[in-house]
């Protein structure tokens, strides 16, 4: 929203921590977190699909946990760490992260509209439960809607990423113990 003259007299200055950067935003209190991310901060990777918390296209991490950015007012997010899809690739090289690569390898996206929500859902979930089974992953994937893929390849992508991360960690542990 470039035109701030329409803010009304209830506008407030808030500070948001998004992907490690601190932003100051003047906004009306009724603006949802997803609208502020997209239109005030121009981080348009997070999408809007239903605005009532069911489709999950707006899923971001709030203090590391997957949350619906359409069911939060931006003002409520002050003091929290917000993480969006824009954080997943390497900031310098632009190289895709392992979860993103897994989605591409498994064709876990078609139109790509729901994809950022699924990525953040999986990113938050796997951080908390790196040992998650494929069935647990499927339950979590059921949190968001995708109309293109039939979900199978999304589940497979996340499972493959989790498996690879576990293998990498095991290898890392082994290496450490060898030294």
């Amino acid at each position: 929203m470039n035109d701030t003259s329409g803010l009304g007299d209830d506008a407030q200055l808030i500070t948001l921590d998004v992907n490690g950067t601190s932003y100051e935003v003047i906004t009306a209190p009724r603006r949802t977190l997803v609208d502020v991310l997209r239109h005030d901060l121009r981080l348009t990777g997070t999408h809007v699909g239903c605005e009532h918390g069911i489709c999950g296209a707006c899923t971001v991490l709030v203090d590391g946990l997957p949350s619906r950015a359409c069911l939060m007012f931006a003002a409520q997010a002050e003091g929290a760490r917000i993480t969006t899809v824009e954080s997943l690739a390497d900031a310098d090289t632009g190289e895709l992260g392992d979860l993103q690569r897994a989605f591409s390898d498994h064709h876990g996206l078609q139109c790509g509209f729901c994809t950022p929500g699924f990525l953040m859902l999986a990113q938050g979930f796997l951080t908390e439960r790196p040992e998650a089974s494929k069935e647990e992953i499927r339950e979590v994937v059921a949190a968001n809607l995708c109309r293109c893929t039939g979900y199978q390849t999304i589940v497979e992508a996340i499972d493959a990423c989790a498996t690879a991360r576990r293998a990498q960690r095991a290898a890392g542990t082994e290496e450490t113990s060898c030294n």
Binding site: C55, H107, R147
Partner: protein, 790 residues
């Protein structure tokens, strides 16, 4: 062969070109577009299903803080969008869909006025201040009401609320066939009204570009050129003065394959205000006030001889198209598809069909993935199952006796089917389920009193409808061909345009594979452009599984032409005839002496920067264009689906235990993409069979305005799908490919329904209406017949 590629790309699941930007949040969808001074539109919508508008008062709206303007149709001089068929009045009644309702409203949610504000929040505040008064008319909310004598009329010109009424086929003597047949089975089926539900709702950003003297409309549409046509006509501009640009698009599935009213009204507001105007449909409107689909009613019967050979098919199809005919397809889209194609994969010697489109006070209908085929396949497959039961035959054996096996086959519906693997796909599907042990598990479960069922569906899907096929429908606007331009720059990089419009189907990858192979260049050298009416001469967009068959063929032809030009330039350099050259790995080389070669960069340098070296008969530059149309009846992809379900007595829940799809779409350009289309399509078919429906109450109020009520299935409900491929290449597409966009959706409802009915076998109940809810299953499972068997 004019090109040699050791590493052919077609047929390989290469990394998708679309993925990196979509995975990093750098895709650009309509709502991501932000322009300086941009305003935001929302629509005042009808709160009644049927009524005369007596007054629209926007005075208070204009006083709402943040609201910049509010317009009615009269304020903007907006007229109608009218889609037509070239059929006599007895068969088709054209109806006008006003861009904004003027004197009458015909469904809850119909747009009446546009409110433009500084931000979307204020726009919605404005809506609340609008005062519309109506003189209500009796709502027509179902087929029975619509067709009842003396019914209220949704459109005064449409007698009996009927927009289309065609009796396309009536084999002579068919009544006698039914009278004398040893076995006649009947099915009465109804399918629920669905929403195609792309996850990205509709939307547009419109802006007047004074320098280009052009209205630029960014909108998510499957048919950019058709939106341009309607926008220019509605707004009184030359077509040249409208540029439609489609950015990344979050799915369409047919819903975005018609021209909507809101994008035109938003554009009109942008012209009036000379400021960019954005409209993003919210989910509530997307669910109930956009375009719906699928609500059909079949009364069908089939006659069989004692050996299970079908003798005749007789069907009456009524499609509830809601309030308006969609542009460009008209309300004929569903009944014409159903009536024209219903015999499908079977050798049906006698056929009679009546197809009707009726109008009701519900949101209008657009094509939705599969268009009528999910329904008629379901009906035909139910007829097959019922006949098998009646004749005490194996349900697969009866299909085998009737499947078309000799190709090309010209059916009773005057359609010629090109070769496919109808029988082979059925055999393989059955084998897959048998080998996975599902028949044994079913027997064991039955012995324990559990209800496991196995069901199949056999079908084909016409893809690559050319202008001949669409003309046969008598559309006034006849889609069919497509165009492509392939251009090489001075450095040898390739730009391709297509008139098709990918929105998840991966055309940036698959079209590039086709071009890269034709020219023998790396995939990374090729970039596809689509969805820009200024960049692409013309196109018919993406629908009806046409893109790879038609668009892909045009792209290949253009690429081959460009290759010919490269060869001609090289041949001139060498002083040999062009026939003695060939393309290989980014070079033209001599056939007789492959060691002698010229790189594309070198040839491009001549074509552009040293054109004085060109012979007289070769024009400078490296550009080639080509068109492709399908002049036959099209090409038919085919598949067999097999589903295994368990019905849970305690809840009535239908659980899908296994799902197998054996598909044949000819040459698969990118097998992983084909599988993705199958899986996604099957998920949508299952959604229609078991979950999704929008109903209307007696007042015409829709049941679903949120995802709480419209039950899109999740990863928990949709099963994994095992896919097997067969390949019967198409003889007349340039790549051998057939379309793959809709098959999944077409086959799934029939397979699921047959499996459910197989599981219900002991109950004596058969279910032919979708969606099948847990409560329906519960009722069937508690039927008296089942109790008696215990």
């Amino acid at each position: 062969m004019t090109s040699v590629t050791e590493n052919q790309l077609v047929g390989r699941s290469v990394a998708r070109r679309e993925d990196p930007r979509l995975l990093t949040g750098h895709g650009r969808f309509v709502d991501d577009i932000e322009l300086p001074g941009m305003l935001h539109a929302q629509f005042v919508r009808s709160t009644v299903a049927h009524g005369l508008i007596t007054a629209v008062d926007l005075t208070a709206v204009r006083r709402v803080p943040g609201v910049v303007a509010a317009f009615t149709a009269a304020d903007l001089g907006l007229g109608d969008i009218t889609a037509r068929l070239d059929r006599p009045p007895a068969e088709f009644v054209p109806t006008a869909m006003p861009v904004l309702a003027r004197d009458r409203v015909r469904y809850v949610g119909e747009p009446i006025a546009v409110v433009v504000a500084r931000d979307p929040y204020a726009a919605e505040d404005g809506l609340e201040a609008a005062r519309v008064t109506y003189e209500s008319l009796p709502p027509v909310t179902c087929e029975e009401q619509a067709l009842a004598p003396g019914a209220a009329l949704v459109h005064e010109e449409a007698v009996r609320n009927t927009l289309v009424d065609v009796s396309l086929f009536a084999t002579e003597g068919i009544d006698g066939i039914f009278e004398n047949a040893p076995c006649v089975v009947r099915v009465e089926a109804r399918t629920g009204r669905q929403n195609a539900l792309p996850l990205e709702t509709r939307g547009a950003v419109a802006q007047w570009d004074a320098r280009e003297e052009q209205l630029v409309v960014h909108t998510c549409t499957q048919i950019p050129h058709q939106v341009r046509t309607v926008a220019s006509r509605c707004l009184g501009l030359d077509e040249r003065a409208v540029r439609v640009i489609v950015p990344d698009m979050g799915g369409g599935f047919g819903l975005k394959c018609v021209v909507g009213r809101e994008e035109i009204a938003a554009a009109a507001a942008a012209l009036r205000l000379r400021r960019p105007v954005k409209w993003i449909e919210d989910r509530k409107d997307a669910l109930s006030a956009s375009f719906l689909a699928r609500e059909q009613h079949y009364t069908a019967r089939a006659a069989f001889d004692a050996d299970g050979r079908i003798l005749g098919l007789d069907a009456d199809v009524v499609c509830d198209m809601g309030a308006y005919s969609c542009y460009p397809f008209t309300a004929g889209i569903e009944p014409l598809m159903a009536a024209g194609e219903m015999p499908g994969v079977y050798k049906v010697p006698a056929y009679r069909v009546r197809g009707r489109a009726i109008t009701t006070n519900k949101a209008p209908t657009a094509p939705y993935r599969g268009v009528s085929r999910p329904q008629y396949v379901m009906v035909v497959e139910r007829l097959m199952e019922r006949a098998a039961r009646e004749l005490d035959m194996d349900p697969l054996e009866i299909r085998r006796r009737n499947l078309i096996t000799d190709f090309p086959y010209t059916g009773v519906n005057h359609i010629t089917y090109d070769p496919g693997s109808y029988l082979e796909s059925l055999d393989l599907c059955e084998q897959a389920l048998k080998e996975a042990g599902w028949y044994d598990r079913q027997a064991a479960a039955r012995a324990e009193g559990r209800h496991i069922g196995i069901g199949y569906s056999c079908f084909s899907e016409r893809t690559g409808y050319g202008s001949a096929a669409f003309a046969a429908r008598k559309m006034q606007v006849v889609p069919g061909f497509d165009l492509s331009e392939v251009r090489m720059d001075t450095g040898g990089a390739v730009t391709v345009t297509t008139g098709t419009m990918s929105h998840g189907q991966s055309h940036e990858t698959t079209m590039a594979q086709i071009v890269a192979d034709a020219l023998g260049v790396d995939l990374a050298k090729v970039k596809l452009h689509q969805g820009d009416t200024d960049r692409i001469t013309y196109g018919w967009g993406t629908f009806a599984s046409r893109s790879i068959t038609v668009g892909g063929s045009a792209v290949r032809r253009a690429a081959v032409k460009l290759g010919d030009k490269l060869r001609a330039i090289a041949a001139a350099e060498w002083g040999v005839p062009p026939e003695e050259t060939e393309l290989a790995r980014g070079r033209v080389r001599r056939r007789d002496e492959p060691g002698i070669e010229l790189t594309y960069e070198h040839l491009a340098d001549i074509a552009y920067l040293k054109s004085h070296l060109l012979p007289e008969d070769i024009e400078p530059g490296l550009t080639a264009t080509a068109a492709f149309d399908v002049t036959t009846d099209g090409t038919f992809s085919n598949a067999t689906h097999g589903a295994v379900v368990e019905l849970h007595e305690g809840t009535g829940q239908v659980e899908i235990l296994a799902y197998v799809c054996v598909e044949d779409c000819g040459v698969a350009i990118h097998p992983q993409v084909v599988e993705g289309q199958c899986r996604g399509g099957i998920a949508q078919g299952i959604a229609g069979a078991l979950f999704e429906q929008i109903t209307y109450d007696a007042q015409g109020e829709p049941s679903a305005t949120s995802f709480m009520d419209y039950k899109v299935p999740t990863a928990h409900e949709i099963p994994d799908v095992t896919i097997h491929h067969l390949e019967t290449p198409c003889a007349f597409t340039e790549t051998g490919a057939k379309g793959a966009g809709e098959g999944g959706t077409i086959g799934a409802p029939a397979a699921v329904l047959n499996a459910v009915n197989d599981a219900l076998r002991a109950t004596g109940v058969e279910l032919d209406t979708t969606p099948i809810t847990p409560e329906t299953v519960h009722r069937a499972l508690t039927s008296p017949a089942l109790e008696q068997t215990r």
